[in-house]
Structure formats: C-alpha cells, structure tokens
C-alpha cells in the first residue's frame, strides 16, 4: 500500500455532501423543534440526540439492517424505490448524515431558541412575509449558530469511522475513507503510511477550523 489521495478526496466529498444535506434538513427541523414543547417534539429531540449517546458501530449496524437486501426493510426499499446503497459511497453519505444529526441540530435549535420572538413579529408588523422574515432577518441572525453547526458537523464527518465502516465496508477506491485508510495502514504495521494519513487528516481539520474562524472574526469586526 502506498499513500494515495483518493481516500482523502473521498472523505472531503462525503463530509461536504453530508454537511450540506444536514444543513438543508436541519433548518426546518430545528425551527419546528424550537416551537412550544410537546410530547412529539420531545421524542424527536431524543431521537436526534441518539447518535450522540449510541456507539457509532450500533448506529452503523442499525443502518446495515435497514438496508440489508436479506431483510424485509431492505427488500422493500430496493423493490419499491430501487434503493440499494450498502457498500457504496452513498452509504457513507447516509451514515454520515445520520451520525451527524446531533452536531447540526444541536447548535441550530439552540440558536433559534435564543432568538427573541419579537424579532420575527417586528418584521411581520413592518409588512414582511414569513419567507422574507426568514431570509432577511432570522437566517442572518442565526449565522453564528449555522457556522458552528456546519463546522462541527463537517469535522465530525471527516473523522467518522464506526458508522462508515459498518455500512461502507472498506473497499479501496470505493468506500475507503481517510480514517479507514489510516486504520488499515496501522493494521498492516505500515506506520509511515499511517502517519501520512493522520497528518493529512489533521491538516484538513485545522484548515477548515481556520477558515471558519476567519469568517467569524470578520463578522465580529463588522458588529
């Protein structure tokens, strides 16, 4: 085995895609969660936090069962929707999305709950529709929460191991992400190669954090 950029590239693609999907899905979900408490909302909130407390291998195993062609759920998904994802790059994205839910929904819901209700009401009284209020008042005010959620989700997805190993296998060139390539290198006692992957992953994470920090501080200067 030699150092190869492909696992890093795959990691970057999976992390970016799953972060983008999570952002789009989590915004409406978080607005809904931030409304008045109800039993249903409490249940959904617990469900969203499950990946935080469950070992990633358990989450991965659940997804493995869900999509398994040998089980009714997998057969249904396959025959009805043509969904056959196990051991493909799609499975990595699905695994990352499920494992990343609490990292995106947590900061977003907290940010939305912290917004004073008068902000949206002031906008309505000024004649603006709910959509205009969302786009021009609420989302800009949520910028720090959105950035925080995006960074932690992306960083978490970059380092995701257990879930992607369970649903992706570790097929070189297909589902072997950087953290899995690192693990494989250690397993075959190739520590020089492992060090390269570890260094590259660390560099990737640090650059993302640095870019976001820069964004945030430029925002603070404006404020």
């Amino acid at each position: 085995m030699s150092f190869n950029l492909q696992p890093l590239w795959l990691t970057l693609k999976v992390a970016s895609l799953s972060t983008a999907i999570l952002l789009v899905l989590s915004l409406p979900l978080s607005f809904w969660l931030a409304r008045r408490r109800s039993l249903l909302r409490e249940l959904v909130r617990i469900l969203c936090n499950m990946p935080l407390v469950l070992p990633p291998t358990v989450v991965g195993f659940c997804l493995l069962l869900l999509f398994s062609p040998g089980l009714p759920t997998g057969q249904f998904l396959s025959s009805r929707f043509g969904i056959e994802v196990l051991f493909t790059a799609k499975a990595l994205v699905i695994g990352s999305v499920v494992g990343g839910i609490p990292f995106m929904v947590g900061p977003l819901a907290a940010g939305i709950e912290a917004l004073p209700p008068s902000l949206a009401e002031a906008s309505w009284v000024l004649g603006k529709s709910r959509a205009q209020t969302l786009l021009r008042v609420l989302l800009p005010a949520l910028r720090p929460a959105i950035l925080a959620g995006t960074v932690t989700t992306f960083a978490h997805a970059c380092g995701e191991f257990g879930v992607v190993l369970m649903v992706g296998g570790k097929i070189p060139g297909v589902t072997q992400t950087a953290s899995i390539a690192l693990y494989d290198a250690v397993e075959s006692m190739d520590f020089a190669l492992a060090a390269k992957y570890a260094g590259a992953l660390a560099l990737l994470s640090v650059s993302v954090l640095w870019a976001v920090q820069k964004q945030l501080s430029s925002h603070e200067v404006r404020a």
């Binding site: 009401e121 002031a122 906008s123 309505w124 009284v125 000024l126 004649g127 603006k128 404020a223």
Partner: protein, 291 residues
C-alpha cells in the same frame, strides 16, 4: 377614528383572566394604557397589531375592518398599518440603523422617507452603526423611527422607555410628543409611570384585571382624591439616625435619597426597610426652574 371591542381569556398569575376591552381612539390622539403588570395591556396591543388572535370582537380603523369575529375577518399583521415598538426594541441585529429603517419600506417606497426620519430622530450620525453598538436611548429612537417608516394609522408602544434612566426617559418623552404631533398618528402607549403618562398622553385608559377602569385626562385619573392638593411620594426608609432632639430619616424616593427630620416619637414606630408615604401640604413648597 379607531374603535375596538375585544374579548380573550388569558392565563394570568392568579388563574384565567377574561380580557374585555371596548374603547375608541380619535385620529391623532395619544392614549396611555396604565395599570399593573399582568392586567392585559400588552395583550391588548398585540391583539390590535394582529400578533395575538382574540376570541371574539371587532377592530375598525378609519372605516376599515381589521378584525371581525362575526364575519370571520382577521387581517394579518402585515396588512394592518400599525407601528409597534416592542419592549426589547426588536432591532434586527445584522442590519445597520439605516438598513433597519429601509427594511420597513414597501417595494419602490420612498428612500427619502428614511433619510428624513433619520434626520428627525437625530440618528443621521448613527446611520451606519449596528444596533449592538448603540446605547439604550439610541436603540429606542431607532425602534420608534422604524415603526414610523410605513406611516402607520396606529402607533403601539409597549413600555418603550422602561429600560432607560430618568434623564433619558424625560428626553425621549419630549421627543415622543414631538414625533407624535409631527405625524398626527393615533398612539397607544403602555406605561407604569404616571409622570410619563402626564407628559406624553392626552387620555388615560386605566387597566384593571383585564378591563378598562377609570378613563379620562391624566389630571382626572391621577388627580382627584389621590393627590388632593398635596405632594405624596412612596419611599423606602433607609436609616434613622438620632441627632440632638430630632431623628434624621434617610428615604429613597424614586432613585433619589432624601433626608428629613422627624420627632423622636414619630420615629419610634418606624424601622429601616419600611415602605412609607411622604406627604407635604400645599403650602410653602420650594419650586425652581430647571436649567
């Protein structure tokens, strides 16, 4: 002319409270809603603005029906021409002062209106600042200016000055009167401060447990019986210090400490921490004009 008759049951501190508000407000009139916390004043403003839905009743503004439960009419807040100044001002944190005002403009609205309001409210120098960098008084002025951009038929102010110190309050009360006259807009102001009501409003609707109680000019509502030609202040007794034949009592009146002399027998029944009423006869008060 604005007429309303509104009913709603809300959960108050002492169980459910049935709100029953019926009144008329003339064009350009400034009316104070005066009463204890939890008596339904803010809910009334919210019902008028369309932010809270009443159970029944009607609201008519200059011949236009904003709400009529019998006919199933309820205009959205966007369609009612109200200006609302929230207690926390609700300025948009990511927009500058100018952007906060411009946001209120309708499509193709007159940009000069914003410039004029910035000038009128003495905000021109702050136009490019973000709300987080403004003082409480400045934020209040931005909130008031923003509420006026759409030329509302009805201006609703929910304790807009309660978070400010006395000097700033006085200044903004004068400003409010000036702006209210300049725009001729019917105004309803929630206030706990009789001084503020006297200075800013021509009529008081006192609110008691979800209904209007006494209604009249500030002099009629706050005068008659309560002041009876004397000065009366509520105060907290801070300390009692014997001094020769008298006892010097320090009193906290509003935010000022006043020292008065008492006879020892008068002081005997008092202790620091007591709530007291300080009264003076109408004779020989000292008055001087403020600089």
């Amino acid at each position: 002319m604005i007429t309303f008759s509104l009913r709603k049951t809300v959960s108050g501190a002492r169980g459910p409270l049935e709100l029953r508000f019926d009144a008329e407000v003339g064009k350009g009139e400034s009316v104070a809603l005066f009463g204890a916390s939890g008596s339904g004043k803010t809910t009334l403003l919210r019902m008028l603005a369309g932010l809270t839905v009443p159970e029944s009743g009607r609201i008519e503004v200059e011949g236009e029906t904003w709400y009529d439960s019998a006919k199933g009419i309820s205009l959205a807040p966007q369609k009612r021409r109200v200006g609302f100044v929230f207690q926390d001002y609700a300025l948009f944190p990511t927009m500058t002062v100018r952007q906060n005002l411009s946001y209120a403009l309708e499509k193709g609205g007159d940009r000069n209106a914003v410039a004029e309001l910035l000038e009128l409210m003495e905000l021109a120098a702050l136009a490019e600042r973000l709300p987080a960098t403004l003082s409480g008084g400045q934020r209040q002025r931005v909130a008031l200016a923003r509420a006026l951009v759409r030329r509302p038929e009805l201006l609703l102010l929910d304790e807009p000055l309660s978070a400010l110190d006395m000097a700033m309050r006085r200044k903004l009360q004068d400003e409010l009167v000036r702006v209210q006259r300049a725009f001729g807009v019917a105004t309803m102001l929630v206030s706990h401060d009789p001084g503020e009501v006297v200075r800013t409003c021509s009529r008081v609707l006192s609110v008691e447990d979800g209904r209007f109680g006494r209604i009249g000019t500030p002099q009629e509502v706050f005068g008659g019986g309560r002041f009876s030609g004397k000065f009366r202040f509520q105060a907290e007794l801070l300390s009692l210090e014997p001094s020769d034949v008298t006892v010097v009592a320090s009193l906290l009146v509003g935010s000022e400490v006043v020292r008065v002399a008492l006879m020892p027998d008068e002081a005997a029944s008092l202790a620091p921490g007591d709530r007291v009423t300080v009264a003076s006869k109408a004779f020989n008060p000292v008055l001087w004009k403020e600089a």
